[in-house]
């Protein structure tokens, strides 16, 4: 008998995945600010306190250096912590524990001390939360070695990637976009709410998904920009342009092959990223293709990303700066001229 399908938000999918991992292995525990009684500011730990109690679902002081450092120690000592950094924007107070400890101890110890931990964090803007609460910082994390970086675009992937993350013996930075999480108090991109199996399953790291096939141009996105790309692709289809849309899903490891193969087919590449444009994801994707074979480009590869400015508070400015469907649509039309 098939279980009836049910659609979940990303936040619900994540909290379900965590719950299942905690049931399966008592070494899995969660800590972070407001993750217990409140269930996480973005709802990713809702219900866990009631199920697992305050020892395994631990609210922390506002001491990111200490508790993320503690996650590293706990992981080294046999636990599998899932730790939440409420907004990615706060990385500046605790990056040492992340990039110099969690990400390097496996290497420093010659592989003797892996650090199986998941650092879960919320990213992205678009709702007027200004420059210290709206960043993505994908590039910041993906640039530094020793940690895997995951950016799901929908609830199905989110659950599967979380299971993979908890099973992974390495630090995994799990970046959840606020526009996709499904909190009541924030708008949620509808298409991120999808059918999610009840049982556990893994979505592998390092495999980008072709979420729409097309022959004319490759649109590469991650997290929320995948949805913008899909919306644009739909509009473009009405004008006879068939865009292929690639959802990167993980930045480390990065599936360069899927991107390259798609661009080999279409000859055109447009990367869409809501992180800052320079020295980030968009540059890496374009040069990954170019260095492999720059002769495949029918037209110069392009990118739409957040300009190199702090994220402005006021709606007109923020919306101006963010990528969106129309920008993609127009850029593609331009690129199709060649």
């Amino acid at each position: 008998m098939a279980t009836p399908k049910r659609k979940l938000t990303t936040a619900k999918a994540i909290s379900e995945a965590i719950s299942q991992e905690m049931e399966a292995d008592e070494n899995v525990f969660v800590m972070g600010e407001d993750i217990a009684k409140l269930g996480g500011v973005f709802g990713t730990t809702t219900g866990l306190l009631d199920k697992f109690g305050p020892e395994r679902v631990r609210d922390t002081p506002i001491s990111e250096t200490a508790f993320i450092g503690a996650a590293v120690g706990a992981a080294a000592a046999g636990m599998r912590p899932i730790v939440e950094l409420m907004f990615v924007d706060f990385f500046g107070v605790c990056m040492d524990a992340i990039y110099n400890l969690a990400a390097k101890n496996c290497y420093f110890s010659g592989g003797n001390q892996p650090i199986p931990m998941v650092l879960m964090t919320s990213v992205g803007g678009g709702y007027g939360d200004a420059g210290q609460h709206s960043q993505c910082l994908y590039g910041t994390f993906a640039h530094l070695p020793g940690m895997k970086v995951v950016v799901p675009s929908n609830a199905y992937d989110a659950k599967g990637l979380m299971h993979t993350a908890v099973a992974d013996d390495n630090p995994v930075i799990f970046m959840l976009h606020k526009n996709l999480q499904g909190m009541g108090w924030l708008g949620t991109v509808k298409n991120s709410i999808v059918d999610v199996p009840r049982e556990t399953y893994g979505v592998p790291f390092g495999e980008a998904a072709i979420v729409r096939e097309g022959k004319d141009i490759t649109l590469v996105g991650l997290g929320v920009t995948v949805h913008m790309a899909l919306d644009a692709a739909e509009a473009l289809a009405k004008e006879g342009v068939e865009a292929e849309v690639v959802d990167l899903r993980t930045l480390v490891p990065l599936d360069r092959d899927t991107v390259f193969n798609s661009v080999s087919k279409t000859g055109r590449l447009l990367v869409i990223d809501d992180d800052y444009i320079s020295y980030g994801v968009s540059g890496e994707i374009i040069s990954s293709v170019a260095e492999q074979d720059s002769s495949i480009f029918k037209t110069s590869p392009q990118r739409i990303a957040f300009p190199d400015i702090p994220i402005p508070f006021t709606r007109p400015m923020e919306q101006f700066a963010l990528p969106n469907k129309d920008k993609i649509f127009n850029a593609v039309k331009e690129m199709m001229k060649d």
Binding site: D34, K37, D59, G128, H133, R315
Partner: protein
Amino acid sequence: MQADAKKQSWMYENMFKSRYYEECMEAAYLEGKQPVFNMANGPVPGEMHLSNGQEPCAVGVCAHLDADDAVFATHRPHHIAIAKGVDLKAMTAEIFGKKTGLSGGRGGHMHLFDTKVNFACSGIIAEGMGPAAGVALARKLRNEPGVAVAFIGEGAANQGGFHETMNLAAVWKLPFVCIIEDNAWGISVAKTDATAVPRNDVRAAAYGIPGEYVEGNDPLAIYDAAERAINRARAGEGPSLIEIETYRLAGHFMGDAEAYRPEGEKDGLLAKDPIPAFRKHLLDSGVINEAALKNIEGAMHAEVDEAFEFARAAAEPEPAEALEKVFA
């Protein structure tokens, strides 16, 4: 020294103004967010941290400060901004994201900068500590008058930057005061679950400086303690630490269901609302009479209403202004 009648009435005025400001802000914030609450909608998007109940901290401290003195506030800045004399129209326009806002709409509610009165705030916990110490250092190096005050929440006293800055300010004997607003909560986490000591004033011992805890959310007691600390700073004797018991009469931010509060806590706090209490004290002690209070209240209503009208009427910035002011 006991606050004189003028100071007391100034304090009431600013407490009242601040509260009425938050009431207007609450209403404005909820516009466009009902019936379905979505933070992205309405004239004031994003997070909104109201300061209801914490007004005594702001007025008790700022009563001792001039425009030269610098104040760094937190993500919950309105009461402090008001008591520090931040331009109310420009501040409100900023929170509405308008062109005439303090920063032309780039900063919003958590990033209010008014250089004329040396006020700034920010959204990262304990982030104002270092900059406040830096202003204090500049005043010292330039032989200029003025002290620097950092306000933080009790939750922020567990952040590394608090410790580092207290030590730095003490080692360098800076004209610096740290004010901890102890509203017992850091979002949903109770102080008792986050802080190893009941009161943060004991942490002053870690820096060899005076520490005080002020109970009862009482503007006059706060005034006294702040005076000692600020005088000490002005006299070149170095920093101090004051923790103030205060009440968060609203949610952490708007939209917070506050299910984590123990049954009855909120009602108990509301019953101790410092504004009616201080009003009663002023009347009972004869510092000011009912008619004069009414006058103040009317004037404050008018000033706040005017600020909101100004903000609403103001023009939106051009979208492409987003690209300006990244660099000076």
